[in-house]
Amino acid sequence: MQFGIFSVSDVSKNPVSGETPSEAERIQAITQIARRADEVGLDVFAIGEHHNPPFFSSSPTTLLAHIAALTERIVLSTSVTLITTNDPVKIAEDYAMLQHLAKGRVDLMLGRGNTGPVYPWFGQDIREGLPLALEHYNLLHRLWREDVVDWEGTYRSALQGFTAIPRPLDDVPPFVWHGAIRTPEIAEQAAYYGNGYFANNILAPNFHFRPLVNLYRERFAHYGHGTPEQAVVGLGGQAFIARRSQDAVAQFRPYFEGSPIYGTSYSLEDFMRGTPLSVGSPDQVIEKTLGFQEGFGDYQRQLWVVDAMGLPLEMALEQVELLGTEVVPVLRREMEARRSPEAAEAPTHSSLVRAKYGEAEPRQPTPSPNRGDNLTGASPYQDTDPELAAQYPELV
């Protein structure tokens, strides 16, 4: 079971001080938050992707590569990578590059994005968002698994003899989570490929996502990846912790009430009761999170939002600290104790390498000398099956 944090990268006004951090301040702050998460033993740090203010994270792989260089153990991920408005070819390249630099501490979560104008800004149409997402992932999946891809589809130009470089680290692609909050086709795609399914589990009633999670589990089994209980499920959540529950509510209240979307529409108490938001002592947050396991079944990844709503850096760091020292150690123990022995572990680069190669050495793709194209022969790499290797005319 992995525990960590995810951020949508909003640059929000601190409703208590009245000040809004600059982009520069928030970008520095998020690297500190990620480093602290690594130091206190959290397993995952994930960052969103946006292309409009007031967000700062337009280029997750740049940020995550920097964080990778500053951290030791934490897995770096996204929440989410836009599979619609990005070219899947560029996603294949960027995240493979990141995976090499982070020495395998990388996976990613794919989502469609719901900001209408971003689609046309990137030459796409939100009304085609679903088939676009599905087709793009189908291509991405192949780009990471086949050295040379011939492909033709609807939403991007066709590819002939294309090799996405670098090949994934150890020739094992980053693990992919598909994020969806309402679309059964996305759960189906996650299930078909044996990938993970992630429900953001925020801003919606308790257990609202259970039908989708159950659908994904059922279809995961249908496609022969294991039992429904072995499917790879991730959940989000939002937490604010203080040692005493009344302090948590008192400290969090001005940030919640100052939030433009929720504060003026909902009472904090209603939101705490009716949605997965946890505000309270470590014990209360633990209790609520154990309820997720009960309601959704054994799952593999739990992420919390801790830096939204204009929370200042010091408070966000304290949240990370409390999660890492007081909440997660207990949750690890408790969830492990309640877990079915059948339930899958969260996939990591090393577990995927083991699954692919066993004890054997992983493949290390090494290109052949430049011959100017990828079109002849089965692969531009030296370990191409000799039967399929290109035959060059011999010069006499």
Partner: protein
């Protein structure tokens, strides 16, 4: 026939006064509809959803997407209804914003093929076309079966027997349509052809793999197939 479950009529009233003439109109229509059904030997029950007390939850759900418990209960009551009576006051030459805001929160398939009796109250007979101009298109969008007769009432109507006759006529249409089972049969036959939301509020909403069509173009694309648009034979 007597063994089957009573038909469920649900009236929505966007009236806010107390007493409210919109609520009064909705109640009279509901009562007449029950009478018509009972006369024809079809047991039925009626209940009313008052939107006034839900106004805050409706507004919150509009901006945040999160439905409060009472609002959710009202939506579920409508989902389970066999027929709907929708009554709104006319404000500023249009249907009440509260009424429209509530309808905006309904799943697109919540009222598919359900008989809908449309009603409105206004301060002046000059607003008489609001039902036809605004409510009919709205219920057409929802694929509801709006009845031929709608009921519009202004202050002077409450002293005229013609209002009672119009209510009776509309209630009679509702009873005929319900007893014939037209709406239920349309939904039975064509449910798959309407737009749906997975795990939505409609009573027939898809809730698990058993309910889904995995042979649809998008589902095939999800399972590694080619993009639907490439195959014109898919329509």
């Amino acid at each position: 026939m007597s063994e089957r479950e009573p038909l469920r009529l649900v009236a929505i009233s966007a009236g806010t006064g107390n007493p409210s003439s919109t609520r009064l109109l909705a109640d009279r229509i509901a009562q007449k509809s029950l009478d018509s059904l009972r006369e024809a030997g079809a047991p039925a029950t009626a209940s009313t959803v008052e939107l006034g007390p839900l106004a805050v939850e409706i507004a919150r759900a509009t901006v945040s997407g999160v439905r409060g418990e009472e609002l959710q209960a009202a939506i579920e009551r409508l989902a389970a209804a066999d027929a709907v009576i929708a009554a709104t006051p006319v404000y500023k030459a249009g249907i009440s914003g509260l009424f429209k805001s509530f309808v905006d929160l309904l799943d697109n398939d919540l009222l598919v093929a359900k008989p809908a009796l449309l009603a409105a109250t206004a301060g002046s007979a000059r607003h008489a076309l609001v039902i036809d101009d605004q409510m009919r298109p709205l219920f057409a969008y929802l694929r509801a079966l709006a009845l031929p007769t709608s009921v519009f009432a202004t202050p002077e109507d409450w002293g005229a027997s013609e209002l009672g006759e119009r209510i009776e006529r509309a209630a009679g249409e509702l009873a005929v349509l319900l007893r014939a089972g037209v709406g239920a049969e349309i939904a039975d036959r064509g449910w798959g052809g309407y737009q749906h939301q997975f795990a939505g509020n409609a009573t027939r909403a898809e809730r698990s793999g058993e309910d889904l069509d995995f042979d649809s173009p998008l589902m095939r694309l999800a399972a590694g197939g080619a993009t639907a648009r490439l195959d014109p034979s898919e329509g």
